[in-house]
Each structure stands twice: as C-alpha cells, then as structure tokens.
Symmetry: D2
C-alpha cells in the first residue's frame, strides 16, 4: 500500500476548485476526484470541518453508484474498495453529493491524498463539458428522502440523483455544478437580494463562508480558462418567482426588499424589470467568461410562470449583443407522482428533466444517447 | 444525548437473530433495526468483525433510502442523522444490505446500542409478513455496480435494490430474507451439494462461519414461533440448474458430485430426481415450521428451464400431503436492458419481479398497492 | 329502426360548423357528432365529396377507440354498431380523423342524419373547453403509418392519436381543432405567405376550397359566442421556422417571398419581425374573439429554435395590451424513438406532449387527472 | 386498374384456410392476405355472410396499423389505399381482426380478388413461424372498448391488439391464431365440454358453423405440411379453471357436466384429472402434426391457479413420450390498470404478455428484438 498526495497522481479533479492544490478543496456539489486505477484497494485521505451539517459523499465505480455516506468532522481514511481483483482497471469517482452550504462558516472539505496498492492511468477528458448553474433544483434538493421531510438538510440534497448525473451517463460527458438552494438570478426566495448567483459566479466558490474556505481559496477569482464548457445550462428564476409571494426582507444597508404583484397577480413592472436586468447582466458575465459556450436557460421544473420574463431578458441580451448562441427551453414540471422531499423535484422529476436536456444536447452536439439502464 | 442498550429500547428487530440479545447479532441481509424516534440525532453503536469482505449498511428514513456505506472492522458509532428537527417523529431503518457470506469465518456484525437525544415510540407490526428464501437473486447480487463488474463482492450485493425492498414499499409489509449466492435447493451452482439452503433453514443462521458467529447463536435452532410469515416466497433452483453445466465437484466424504444432461440436453432422470426430492422435502420443512404460510415458489429471473421439474416436485408434495396452500409462479426473465453487474439481475429486473409479486400478493391477500414513486 | 334528421336529435356537434344545419357540414379534424343513446343499433347517413383524398372517420364508444375507416365518395349509411344490448346507455362519438385539406375543391363531408332503434339522452357539456390551433402537428400528421411513409395523405393524419385526444381522456374535457399541415402564423413552410392560420381563423372554415364547402358555409364569419373555450392552445411557428431554409415562393400578386438567415444562421431581423408581428396580431384576434380564454402558446415538438422570437412577440403583446392571460410552454421534442410517419411526431410523441399539457391544464384549472390506460 | 383473382397473384395468405382456393375463405382471426405491391391504389373484392355479428378487418401498410372497420353483409370492394405514390413498393396486410364465431351459421368471409393499378412482388416467408392456440385471451377479447362494455361482440375482439401482433413486430416473424373465447382444453367456461379446442384442432376451422363454411372447407382435415410452425404457444386452461366455479351444463348426450371444488376450494381430483388428461392428449396431437415445433404452454393472464395442474400434465406427457421440446411459462396477470373491456386483458396487458414472450422467443431462437415504437 502506497500513500500519494492528491496533487502527485493523475486523478481528474471535478468541480471548480484550486488547481493542483494539496490538500484539494472540495467546494461545489459533484466536486471530487476521478481515477483510473489498476489495483485491489483504494482509500481516500479526507478532512472535514463542520458544525451544523455534514458533507455527504458518493462513490461510483465504473460509472455505477456504489455508496452514499455522511462524513463526520475530522480527518478520515475512507475506504472506497478493498480486495477487488487487483489486475483490473477500474474507473472510480468520489464526489461530494451536496452543495456548498452558504452561511455555514465551519463547513469545509479537503482531500489530502489516497492510499492504494494500485497504479494510476490517466483519466481522459470527455468530448463535451457542461456547466450547470442553478438553485435548489440544480442542487438536487428533494432527491433523497420521503416526501414527508421538511428539514432543509444536506442528507436530502444530492447531485447523484440530479439531472447532471443522468446526463453524464446518457451522453458520456463531464459536468460542473454551480448552485445553491433558495438563490436566484436577482434575489433569493425570501426577497434577500444578496442571495443571487451572479454575485458569486466569478469566484472559485464565492458563497462559501468562514475563514477556512477563504484560506482554501474560495473567494479568489476563478480562472475560467482551465475548464471551458461547451454548454452552460442555467436553471434560475424559480426563487425570484417565489419572492413575489413572500414578505419583504430587511437587507442590511438596503432596507426592506420585496418583489410585488399587481392585484390581478401579474408582476409589478418595476420589479420584474429588476429580474430581467439581472438576467441580461448575468448572460453578459457568462459570455465574457465562456466565450464559446452554448448558453441554454432551462427552466420550469417548479412552475413556468417566469417563461415570458426570462425570454424577454434573453431577447434583450441578444438584441444588444448580437450573440445568438443562447437559447431557452422548458423542463418538465414536477407532478404529484414525481415530487420528492421538501416539496422539491424527486429523482424521477430530475430524470424527466435529464431526458429533455439529453435530447436537446444530443441534437445540438450530434451525440449518441446511451440507453442502457441496468444499474445506475 | 443518552446511550441505550439495544435490548432496552422498543426498536423493531428485522431479520432472523437471537431475540433480546445484547449485543444484537446481524446475520442475514435486510437484518437490522427499525425505530420510531422523536429526536434530532441518532447514532448506532455497532461492531464489525471481518477479514476479506466488509458488511454494507443502508439507512432509510421515513421509508426512503438515505445512505449505503461499507463498515470497516472494529467498533464504530455510526451517525444516522444529526441536527434534524428534534420534535418530529421519524421512522428510521438501519439494515445490513448484503447477505451473510458463508465461509468467511472472521465476518460478524453486532449492534450494541444507540445514542440519541430523542425518545422512542413503538414500531407496530405490519399486517403482512413475508419470508424470502433464495440464492444470489434474492441476495440482490448484481443490483449495484456496472455490468462490467465480475468480482463477487458484498459491495455489489444488496437488499435495498432487491425485490423484497420494492414489495415492502408497494404493499406496506415486512419481510425477512434467507438466502445465499450460489446455493440451491439440492446443490450449489458448482455441484457442491453442501451449498443447499434446506440444510441450514432451521438454524438461526446456519451458513454463518467462524467461532464468533457460533458464539452469537448462529447455529442454534431457530424458534419459528417468534415470527410466523403469512407468505414464503422461495426463489431457488437457478443454481441447481447451473450445476448441470458445471464440472464435477469433489465433496469431502462424498466424492465427485455432478448433475448430468443427456445428449439432447435434457436432464438425466436420476439427477433431476435428486432436485425434485430436495424440493419436496424442503416444502415439508417449510410447512412444518410455518403451518399457515402461503408458500409460493417464484422462479425464472435467470431462465426458466426448471419450471417443469419444480412443478413436478410441488405436485408430488401436494399429492402426498394434501397441502394445497402452495403455488408456483414465474418471475420475468432478466434481459440485456435489465441485467446488472456480475451477469445478474439489475435493479430494474428486481423491480420487474417485484411488480409481478406485488400483483400476486395484493390479489391473494386483498391489499392495496401504493403507486407513489417520488423517491425510493 | 327510425330515421332522424341530424338537427332533430339531441346529439352534440363537435368542431366548428354551421349550428343546427341539416345536412351538417364536417369541416375540421375531430369534428363530428356525439350521442348518448339507449339502443342496440346505430347508423349514420353521411355524404362525401372527394376527388384526390378521402376523409377518414373514427368511431369511439364509451370513450374508447373502435374503428377508423376511409369513407369513399358518395352517400353512405355507416354502421357504428349493431346488435348490442339495446337497454344499455352508450356514449358514441363519430368524428373526422383528418384535417380539412386546403386546396381540394371537391372535398366535403356532411352528415344528414342517423338511423337507430334507440332513444337519445342529452350529452352534457364538459366542464372545460379547449381550442387547439396549429399546423401539421396539431393535425396529427405522422400519427398513423410507418416511419417509411413519405406521402402526404389523409390516411396518415389523425386526431385520434393527436394530443387533443389524449388530453380529452385524461381531463374529461372537450376540444376543437383549427389546424392545417404546412401552415404557419405568418407563412407556410415553403414561404407561401398565404398559408397562414390567422387569415382564416375567424371564418367557419376559411381554408376549405370549392363551391360545395362555400355553399355549406365554410367562408362565413364564425360566431364565436356559441362555443367559448376556457383555454386556447396555439402550436404554430414550426412552419415559419422551416421557411427560413426553403427557397423563395412566388406568391401571385406579391412576388417572390422568402424568409432569410444571416451567415451565422441567425434570422434576418426584418424577416423574423414579420413573424413576430404576425404572432402579436394573431393574439389580438384570439383575444377579441375569446375574451376569457387562457391562451397558451405551446411549441417545440419539432425543434425549439423559435422559442425566443415567439416569446418576444408574446411579451410585446402583453406590454401593449396589458393582457396577462397568455403564456408560453415548450412541448417535448420528437426523438428517434417517437417519430412517426413522414418525419412527423408519432403517437408516442403526441402522448408525451399531451402529458405536459395535461399537467399544465390540471394545475391551472385545478382538475383531476384520469390515469386509467386499459384501452384507448 | 386491373382485376386479379386472389389465387392468380403472389399474395401471401395468412391463417389456416384452403390453399389456392378462389374465393379464399377467411376463417380465423389474423387471417387474410399480405401483398408487396408497387402501385398507387388497391381494392379488395370481399364477400361477407352474416346475421348477428359482422367481421371486422384491419389494414396495415408497411407494418403500421391504418384502419379497422366493420364489414357488412354482402359483396364489397374495400379500398385499402388510393392515390399514393405509384412508384413506391409497399407491404400491405388486410386481415380479419376477430375470431371465427362458433355457432353463428350465417357468418362467413371470402376474398375473391383485388383490383389495382400496381404490380406484385413476392412476399417472402419470415424466418420464424409461430402458431398461437388459445381462448378469448388469444382472440383478443377485451382489447378494444371501454372497461364498461359487457357485450360479447366482435367489435371488442381483435388480433391487432393481441400479443401475436406485438410479437410479429418485435421479432419480424409470422403467426397464425387458432382460438375461441370461452373454450378450454377440456371444457368451456360454462362446463360445456364440447367447447374444447383439441376437438377441432386438426380441421381447417372445425368450429365454424353453417353450410357455407362447410362448403368452403372448414370441416376438412387440415394439411399441416403446408405451414409448419417453429413454435406453438398454447394459452389454454383459463376457461377450464372458470368451469369449477360455474353451474353444471347439460350437454346433449352426456348429461350434466360440472367440474367441482372441494370444501377447501382445492380441485376434486377426479375432475382435475380430466383436464390433465386433456392437456396430455392435446400435446400428443400437437406433436403429431407439428413434429419439430417448440411447444410452449404460456398461461396466467387471468390468474395462475392452473399452473400446477398444467405442469403436472406436461410432465406426464414428457415422461410418457420422452419429448423434451415442450415448456411452460407464466404470462403476467392482468391488473386494474391493464384490464380492457369485458373484464378481459386490455391492450397493455397483451403488450406486457408480448414482452415476456418476445424475450423468451428471442433467447430460444437467437433473434434480435426491434425496439422501435414510433407508430404501431
């Protein structure tokens, strides 16, 4: 058995983080490591800081889900497998299932290294890279747990049952996720306008709290050149939509914030304009940093009331910038049969959304769909 | 936080084991504990002995899958949840996902107790109890892992994706599993005639190896009176079938054993008679110990070549005993689309079998089927 | 057996036509008659004029599909059923499966009466009325026939396998269809700008050709007051989109017409504006005639490239009119697995679209979904 | 347009009938003609005799369902298509959808010829031939019509939505159907022991009534050499099972007949023996006439109570004859979701059964499954 520092082996790092760092910070959901390893045993040397909620990690071997477990505070050697046939080459993926939780200062995760009897072979890049930007839906909130659950906790959130996971399997692509529950493009679900994804999009993990994450580089400007996506799927506005039905939020330094409806339940023009402007501005930010990516605003898993305002903002962006490499698409709404925990899309709703996106991407990028469903 | 010995709290114990023992031995797959607990935090004090393969444990909360993890050798405090709303009543299930592995002397698992801030409420018995008796199919071999996997390891075996799991959810029943991969009703897949389920059926866990399991009571006669099933689903004969195509096995004290085919690939009469007799005898054993259970031989997920011999044996049993509370049913064969790892039925094959059994049981016992599929 | 003139019995007339006319003209697809009849035998006295293509008719009994047949030129007595239990009350529907074919002057269909041994009971209106406006997709082109078929013929077009049919069953509503293959909101697929639905929307059946249809009232202004829909589903723009990739069409009196793309394949602004204006204008026409209907533009079964222009036009309409009772929704794109004949959405694509619309309508109008799928 | 006598063109005749006869009698369900024709128009010259119930005919073009219509008494020219592209080669199938109705003396159907502008190309035999023998399930009773229907009428019976139809598409095979509703292997559902399929199996169509059918050859010995099936699927015993719960039937010349249950609802030995003997005898008849066919008894779509008696009889047959080319398989039971009209399996139940049989046959005969489902 040999110990390898994480930056001394040819593992592929998933998720936005600090390149070549050791220990390797694991910020966003679906972040972690992937290795092609010929050996019978593999352990990961991982360190967790947390206070209120723990990170959850998923292990996949040869593309199939094997394990999902809570990692407690402290430094651990987590065994991914033992006593498998040592001569076999295996693809192993170990990633954080849940989103970075904004506001939990004590929460951080780093991987120091791995221990194995095996040898590493390179993990090649996939032909297509996709960035998923979103809110609780993209953070897979509700994908684990009974529909009775109402606690907002990492154990019920996942990326293993979120659409990115199904799309990766169906199209053999790689993905990154930038998302946080309750956040919007202009405002959070509760009218807290600080909870908007654009404000943190250009940092490595701008919504991570606490000194430890800051030390790990979360607040640094992200170097977009290291991983240029071919497509960016933005699923935002569900929370901006909710804010119209929530009370005002007293934002420090701003005073009470509130998106308002007219008496006929239509949006107050001045307020919907704020969202539209935020969308247009965010598209510019996305384009600046991802010059070649096809940008798809894919929305509608918890109602489609924002279809028209979103498209208005996209149309303005296109008109202003002449950038036509942007599109809009509805995802299927969640039904009584597909709802998961916490009133959120369950695994079958995520799978339905993944089918729509898989079809869209396969046509746009001329890719073949893998239909095998034996084990996932 | 309070510590409770496992036999001092009103948890429901799943799986055949020693009643009221502390520590509580966990032998068979799907064995473990279920609690109704009002509290925000729950830890399990568990001890594992192992050498070659580890046990894997699943946590379900309010009926939904939450976690699946390998437990390493040693005594651990496993956290099932923390910082959930403490006033909420939750149903929590923590069970061994994989089968007892015959032949691994070092392997045992016991639960000593739990630690929690909560209080316990009784877990009521379900209206219907079902015992599943079988081989690798019933042990859920192949239900995790890529179809590429060929290692026979606990990590790829499960009861969480096996038909009992789906049936429990669909019909709100409770189940126990008595099964081992490779074993048959007369002989194992490799013509080792010692690998037969009837020989160990009347012990608590007669196929468990090693001193530790013996000390824990595995070899004791099982007291069938403590949990009388309403139905017994027997899925055996797939390995007896395989043995016809395998070389002879030199069984100590018996010499070479081999089931043979005629030139036209039909079974040699003398050999198929051994299986038929084993079936008839096993039915008598099942009936003796479970006087009121409906016994259903449910077979066919890896070919149906044994349909006629199985039915012949059942018919002989019925004729001899006048016991008509026994039936036969085919389960759907595994296809290229539903095969899992290790050439075995994958999760969708198990789900298809569960649908057939759910329909059968719902009609026989006049039960309503729960069709919700949001998260499982 | 008694003969009844069609306007002397309490049958429900489906589809836009001349109220109380005898003979009753059958113009649009899904048009025909529905009766609640207590009797054992029912014949329809129907007259068909045609030259090139025949009309096809479907019979449904108690909501289930029974027959689909070509009706030849001439006057016929078509038997819907004979020798059924005469004491039973049955709901019977007999409707034209295919669209009115624009340009076929000889084509017309009228129902003169029925012959029966039974008595009629009133057919009550459904709680919800839906008007479907569209093109070949709404005309169900491609829903019958092998994917090899390339002939544009009535036999491969239907409303029995089109989404309206599935939605009627799922939500227990009634519907009308105004649609024609190849037509758009501004132009036909081939740049013939005369092939636009708005130009004929306010007539009874403005696209019907020939003297006979004119005599029957096809060109008369339609009296919208007789059937006010609760929702209008508009599925147009697929052909306007196609026109960008087709050669110019020499429209008499207009000269060559052609929608153009820029070099980067984006739409020439001047040309896409024509479509947007047509959409905005059409929405005004729809609203004028259907003051209370929820208008949903539901699009995307053959690509979604027009999402943004459509939404731009809708947004302009909303801004200008302050009418917020209008929305946009994507329908699922047709895949290699769901394509039907003639490169068009097959029955499973139509069913997928129907599921999305059923979900949308059930939420908006608070209706229960009927999930039974025994026979359709 | 040219007229061709039916025996002067290279059409393929489906269903047991009199070879080369003109007019061609159409007896069994799924019987009719198949042509490969290059032309734009095709009419069939068909003659129907009937009194109480009419025959229903289905047209398929290039393997896809196009039309289903009642044919009234008399001689008709039925148009299958007109004005299609005349240069295209099309496969056209025109077959009787419903079973021959035993006891209706006036009922017969013959095809005299066809009229077309086209030319014929040979229809090659498929690689696999399958004979389906059964009762109402195999006659597709219940596959059309609402679940409310209780009239036993040809309009609700079909072979177009019966499992043979789905299997033909999935495996590209050809099939024949020998079946009648209410009939059994020993007795009819009502204890009328004359209603048994074996008694008529060796005639061309032994259950056809009336002079006309006799003249047409229905009562002649069938020449099995002209179409030797590779597999025979027997789905019988559902009615024999029902007879145990029905009152006695006074059979002329036999007296009252009645299958009886014991007090515990098990079958009276003497009575179940009658069925077993009928099965064993029928297997001998099948084998005598079809020496190379794989015989599969496939049963269970309306309960599986007869599994054990059927298998007992098959085992006796195998023991006695040493013929091992016979097997047993359960088909999936009909559920509340898949039931059709008349309490019978609906189209989705038939499809589920077809999937099981398709899997079985594809494995046994090493055939590829066609998964396309665009239009059927």
């Amino acid at each position: 058995m040999n110990y390898h520092k994480i930056n001394e082996i040819p593992v592929k790092v998933h998720g936005r983080t600090i390149k070549d760092a050791c220990p390797l910070p694991i910020f966003w959901s679906r972040s972690g490591i992937e290795a092609n390893i010929r050996g019978g045993e593999l352990w990961v040397d991982i360190e967790v800081g947390c206070d209120y909620q723990e990170p959850w990690f998923v292990t996949e071997i040869n593309g199939a889900f094997i394990s999902r477990q809570m990692l407690l505070k402290g430094r651990h050697k987590v065994c991914l497998f033992r006593n498998l046939n040592p001569g076999e080459l295996r693809n192993v993926k170990f990633y954080k299932d849940n989103q970075m939780v904004a506001g939990e200062a004590a929460l951080y995760t780093v991987i120091h290294g791995v221990e194995t009897d095996g040898t590493f072979e390179p993990v090649e890049d996939k032909k297509l890279k996709i960035e998923f930007v979103g809110d609780s839906i993209t953070s897979g909130e509700g994908t684990y747990g009974s529909f009775k659950e109402i606690d907002w906790r990492t154990m019920f959130h996942s990326s293993s049952r979120q659409y990115a996971s199904y799309i990766e399997r169906a199209l053999d692509v790689e993905s990154r996720v930038i998302s946080h529950g309750g956040w919007g493009v202009y405002t959070g679900w509760d009218n807290d306008i600080r909870s908007n994804i654009p404000s943190i999009y250009e940092k490595v993990c701008g919504l991570a709290a606490g000194e430890e994450n800051e030390k790990l580089g979360a607040k640094e400007q992200y170097d977009f050149s290291e991983w240029q996506p071919d497509a960016i799927i933005v699923n935002l506005c569900t929370n901006d939509n909710s804010a119209f039905d929530q009370p005002a939020f007293d934002v420090p330094g701003e005073g009470p914030c509130k998106l308002r409806r007219n008496e006929d339940r239509s949006f107050v023009t001045e307020d919907i304009e704020k969202i539209k402007n935020a969308i247009t501005d965010f598209l510019k930010v996305l384009r600046k940093n991802n010059p070649k990516a096809h940008i798809l605003w894919a929305y509608g898993m918890l109602g489609s009331e924002m279809n028209l305002p979103i498209c208005d903002a996209i149309n303005r962006y296109v008109k202003e910038t002449k950038d036509n490499n942007v599109a809009f698409l509805n995802l299927p709404d969640t039904t009584a049969e597909t709802v998961g925990s916490f009133g959120h899309p369950g695994m079958f709703s995520q799978e339905a959304a993944a089918e729509v996106l898989t079809d869209y991407l396969s046509k746009r990028f001329d890719m073949k769909i893998n239909g095998y469903k034996g084990n996932i």
